[in-house]
Amino acid sequence: MRKVLFLFAIIALSSACEEISPVITPVMEVESICDDPAPITDQQRQVLVEEFTGVRCVNCPAGSAALEELIGQHGDQLVAVSIHAGSFAPPYPESFDTLRTAKGEEILSFVGEPLGYPTAVVNRKKFPGGFNLQLPRNGWPGAIEQELQEDPRVLIDIKNNYDEATRELETCVTLQMMDDLSAEESVFLTVMLLENNVVDLQLTPESSEPDPNYVHKHVFRDVLTSAAGNLIQDAVTAGSFVQQSFAITLKEKYKADDCSIIAFVHLGGDTKVVLQAEKESW
C-alpha cells in the first residue's frame, strides 16, 4: 500500500510546484511633461466599463454590440475597454495578432473571474445580488445608470504628446480632488492604452469558423501603471491636484490614430470602486 501512496506522491511532486509568476513593472522615473495644473471644467461623472471577452467566445459579439449601444446612449460619460482574458481568450492559430495579454489576465484575476461570458465590470463595484464584481449583459445598463447618479469625487484630465517619428507617447494625467479622499484607505490611479477598430478573428454565432473580418472595439493593449494601479502618495484633500507623467513607445502593429489613453482613479482596501474615468486620444 505504501508503495502506491509513494508513487502518487512522486507523480504529484514531479510535475508540480510550477507557477506562473506575476509581472513586476518597477515604476519608471519619467520626466514630468505636465504643465502647471489648471482647474478642470465641464466634466461630469464618467463611468468605467471593463468588458472581458475572448476571440473564442461565441456570445461575446452580442455583448460587445450591447456595449456599443450603451456608448451611443451615454457618449463620453461611458469609458469602455474590452480586455481579452480568461478561458475564451487564447488566440486561434490563424489569428493575425494575439489580443490577449498577461496584464489583461492580471486585471481579470484582480477583479475576479465571471460565471459566464459575455461579462463586464462596471466601476469595479459589487452590485446587490451579484456573484462578484462581474455582471452578465442584462446587468450592465442598470449598473451604469446607478453609477451615473453620483457626483464625481475626482476630475481627470489627460494630455497626450505623441511623436509620429519615434512612435513615443508621453502622457500627463492631472487629477483634481473634488472631495476629501484622505479618509480613504488608499487611492490608486490606473492608466491604460487602448486600440480601437482592430480587425482580427472572432467566433460569432453565424458560423462554426471564426470571422476574419471582425472589428474589435477599444481593445486593451497595455497598462502604463501596474495592472492593479499605482498608489497615489500625494495629498488627496479636497481641491488638491495630483499630476503623474507616463511614457510608452507604441508597437509597430498598433495604428496610432486608433489608439487612446484612459485613466481612472480607484480605491484600495475592501473596495476597488472606481471614482472617475477619462479617455483621451490625440
Binding site: 500500500m1 502506491v4 501512496l5 502518487f8 507523480i11 504529484a12 510535475s15 508540480a16 510546484c17 510550477e18 507557477e19 506562473i20 509568476s21 467566445c57 461565441v58 456570445n59 459579439p61 452580442a62 455583448g63 454590440a65 450591447a66 456599443e68 449601444e69 451611443g72 446612449q73 480568461g86 478561458s87 475564451f88 487564447p90 492559430p93 484575476s109 475576479g112 473571474e113 465571471p114 460565471l115 459566464g116 461570458y117 459575455p118 452590485f127 446587490p128 445580488g129 456573484f131 455582471l135 452578465p136 449583459r137 442584462n138 446587468g139 450592465w140 445598463p141 442598470g142 449598473a143 451604469i144 445608470e145 446607478q146 467566433l203 460569432t204 454565432p205 453565424e206 458560423s207 462554426s208
Partner: protein, 565 residues
C-alpha cells in the same frame, strides 16, 4: 444587514454552546449528537495540451479544498443543526475561477409542538415534485438553494398537513434580496379493503416571489435600452401555482402535476435584438410571459417486471430569485430531468440539460428480472423544443447475467442524438450522434477478493467534411480490484481513438489522439471512507442557453474523505 449578521452570529454561537454542553455532559439526558464530514482536496497539475490551464488554480494557486462538517443534535423534542462550510481556492462554484470563503453554511432549529411543526434557519424543502418550489443542495455543482427563513406546518387530522414558509435564498455566505414565500396542503386518502386497496395523495401549492428594489431598478434600466416593441413593464410579484396527485392501486402508480406561473420577467438567451443601426443581434434578452408545466409519470411494478412512462411539457418556466441570475444560480424551483441518469464514463458524456423556457419530453423505461439470474433494462427518451426541433434522443439497453455467484456479466448499447448547438451554444455544430456498446464483467476470485473489467467504445458520427462530431470516437477501459471490506483499486484510461473536430491539436499541427488515464485507491474503514486519485479528464464547454461556462479539463491529484459519526 448588520443586525442580521449579529443575530446570525449569536444563534450560531448558541447552537455551538448547546453542542458544547451536550458533549461535555455526555448522553445522559437522552440527546443524540451525530454528524458527517465531507472533504475534498485537489492538487492541480497544469497540462496545456488537454486544456488544464488558464485558471487561477493551474496557473498559481496549485491547491484547492472544499469541506462540509454537518452536525445535528436532538434533545427535548428539538432538532438542532449546524454546518461548517469551507472553500479554499475552490473550483466548484465557478469551474474557471477560484472561490475562497468559510463559515456557518447552515443552521436550523426544529420543534414539533403537538400538531404544530416549527422550523427556522436554513431550510431544505419542496412542494410536490419541486416544479414550483424546491430548496435543495447539490455539492458537486455547489448548488445550495436553502431558504433562510421560517416554516410552519400543522397537521389537520392524521393524513392532512398544511404548511407555509417565508424567507430568502442563500447565496454562498450571503443571502439574495428578493423574498420567497408560499404554502401547500398535502393529503392522503385510502380506499377499498385488503387486496383491492387504492389510495390518492393529492396536494396544492402556491409560491410567490417579490423582487427587491435594486434588482427591479437594474431590470428597468435594461428594458429602457430596448426598442418600443421589445420593451415591457416588469413585475415585482410573480405567483406560481401547482396541483398534484399520486394515485396508487395495486402495482400501478400514477403521478400527475400541473403548474402555472403568472407573468414573470424572464431572460431568453436566444433573444433577438434590433440595434440602432438596424442590425440584428442574438443574445440575452429580457421578456415577460406567464409559464406552464405539465408533468405525469405512470409506473407498473410486479414480480420482476417494472415499466414506467413519463411525459413533461415546459413553457416559460424559468423561476429564479431574480432574472439576472445565470446558469444554475438562484433557482427557486426544480424541473425533473427526462433522460436516463447514466453512470458509465462514456454513456454519461453527453447529458440533456433541462430547458426551462421550452421543452417537450417523453421517457419510457422497462425492466425485467428473471429469478435474479437474468435481467434486462431498456430506456428510451426523446426531448424536443416546442417547435419540434430535436434536442436529445437516447435508446439505452442493458442485459445482466449472473453465473454461479462468481461471475456477473453486463452488456448493452447506447444510441444518442445530442443537440450541441442548443445545449452548448456551439454555432453550426451538427447534432452529435453516438453509438456506444459497453460491457462490465465482475469475477469474485474469493470471498474477499473480486475483479471487475469495464469497456466502452463510443463511436461518433461524422460531419459533411468527414470529421468526427465533437471529440470524435473514444475507447474506455477500466480494471477494478477490490479486497473486501477495505480496499478498492482502479485503473482506467479514456482514449480519443479517432479524434474529432474539437479534439486538441498538438505541436505538430495534427489532431492529437490523447489518453486520459486515471488511477484511484479507495479505503473504507467502518464509517470512514478515503480516496486518492490521479486524474486526467477531458474538458467540455457547458453552456446554458447563451451563457457559456467552460468546465476545464482536470489534471491533478484529488483526495477525498467521507465520515459519519
Amino acid at each position: 444587514m448588520n443586525l442580521l449578521q449579529t443575530l446570525r452570529k449569536i444563534l450560531a454561537a448558541s447552537a455551538l454552546l448547546i453542542f458544547g454542553i451536550n458533549c461535555g455532559f455526555g448522553q445522559n439526558d437522552g440527546g443524540t449528537l451525530s454528524g458527517n464530514l465531507q472533504a475534498n482536496g485537489n492538487f492541480f497539475i497544469r497540462d496545456s495540451l488537454i486544456g488544464a490551464a488558464n485558471t487561477p488554480q493551474y496557473d498559481r494557486q496549485l491547491y484547492g479544498a472544499d469541506a462540509w462538517l454537518n452536525l445535528s443534535y436532538n434533545n427535548w423534542g428539538f432538532d438542532f443543526g449546524l454546518r461548517f462550510d469551507l472553500f479554499n481556492n475552490s473550483n466548484l462554484l465557478n469551474p474557471t475561477g477560484s472561490f475562497t470563503g468559510e463559515g456557518i453554511g447552515r443552521w436550523y432549529i426544529h420543534k414539533k409542538v403537538d400538531k404544530f411543526d416549527i422550523s427556522v434557519g436554513y431550510l431544505y424543502d419542496q412542494i410536490g415534485s419541486g416544479i414550483i418550489f424546491r430548496a435543495f443542495e447539490q455539492r458537486p455543482l455547489l448548488i445550495d438553494n436553502a431558504l433562510y427563513g421560517a416554516r410552519l406546518a400543522y397537521d389537520l387530522g392524521e393524513n392532512w398537513q398544511i404548511k407555509a414558509f417565508t424567507g430568502r435564498q442563500k447565496q454562498q455566505f450571503d443571502i439574495y434580496e428578493p423574498v420567497i414565500k408560499g404554502g401547500a396542503i398535502d393529503g392522503y386518502l385510502s380506499f377499498g379493503e385488503e387486496g383491492r386497496f387504492w389510495a390518492i395523495a393529492p396536494g396544492l401549492g402556491v409560491v410567490n416571489r417579490t423582487l427587491d428594489d435594486a434588482s427591479m431598478n437594474s431590470i428597468v434600466a435594461t428594458v429602457n435600452t430596448y426598442t418600443k416593441e421589445d420593451a415591457f413593464v416588469p413585475r415585482y410579484n410573480t405567483y406560481a401555482f401547482s396541483a398534484y396527485n399520486t394515485l396508487s392501486a395495486g402495482p400501478w402508480t400514477w403521478y400527475v402535476e400541473a403548474a402555472y406561473k403568472t407573468e414573470d420577467n424572464l431572460s431568453d438567451p436566444f433573444g433577438e435584438f434590433v440595434l440602432s443601426d438596424s442590425s440584428l443581434v442574438v443574445g440575452d434578452k429580457l421578456y415577460k410571459a406567464p409559464g406552464t408545466v405539465f408533468y405525469s409519470s405512470l409506473s407498473y411494478a410486479k414480480s420482476g417486471l417494472g415499466i414506467s412512462v413519463e411525459g413533461k411539457r415546459t413553457e416559460n418556466f424559468d423561476f429564479r430569485v431574480r432574472p439576472q441570475e445565470q446558469l444554475n444560480r438562484g433557482l427557486v424551483n426544480f424541473l425533473p430531468p427526462m433522460a436516463r441518469v447514466n453512470t458509465y464514463r462514456m454513456t454519461a458524456r453527453y447529458n440533456a440539460a433541462t430547458q426551462f423556457l421550452g421543452e417537450m419530453a417523453v421517457q419510457a423505461d422497462i425492466r425485467y428480472n428473471y429469478k435474479r439470474k437474468f435481467s434486462v433494462n431498456a430506456n428510451f427518451s426523446n426531448i424536443t423544443d416546442l417547435d419540434n426541433n430535436l434536442l436529445y434522443r437516447e435508446l439505452y439497453t442493458e442485459f445482466t447475467y449472473k453465473y454461479k455467484r462468481t461471475w456477473q456479466f453486463l452488456a448493452g448499447m447506447q444510441i444518442q442524438r445530442y443537440n450541441q448547438e442548443v445545449f452548448e451554444f456551439k454555432p453550426d455544430a451538427p447534432i452529435v450522434e453516438t453509438v456506444t456498446p459497453y460491457f462490465d464483467i465482475l469475477y469474485k476470485i474469493s470471498r474477499r477478493k473480486s475483479i471487475r473489467f469495464e469497456g466502452q467504445y463510443m463511436i461518433a458520427g461524422k460531419d459533411d467534411k468527414g470529421e468526427g462530431h465533437d471529440y470524435g470516437s473514444w475507447l474506455f477501459g477500466l480494471v477494478e480490484f477490490s479486497v473486501a471490506p477495505s480496499w478498492t483499486f482502479t485503473v482506467s484510461d479514456m482514449f480519443n481513438i479517432d479524434p474529432g473536430k474539437a479534439s486538441p491539436i498538438d505541436d505538430s499541427g495534427e489532431k492529437a489522439a490523447l489518453h486520459y488515464p486515471r488511477f484511484d485507491v479507495f479505503y473504507t474503514h467502518g464509517p470512514n471512507r478515503f480516496s486518492l486519485s490521479y486524474i486526467k479528464q477531458v474538458e467540455g464547454v457547458v453552456c446554458t442557453g447563451g451563457i457559456c461556462r467552460l468546465e476545464p479539463a482536470f489534471s491533478g491529484v484529488r483526495f477525498t474523505v467521507n465520515s459519519n459519526f
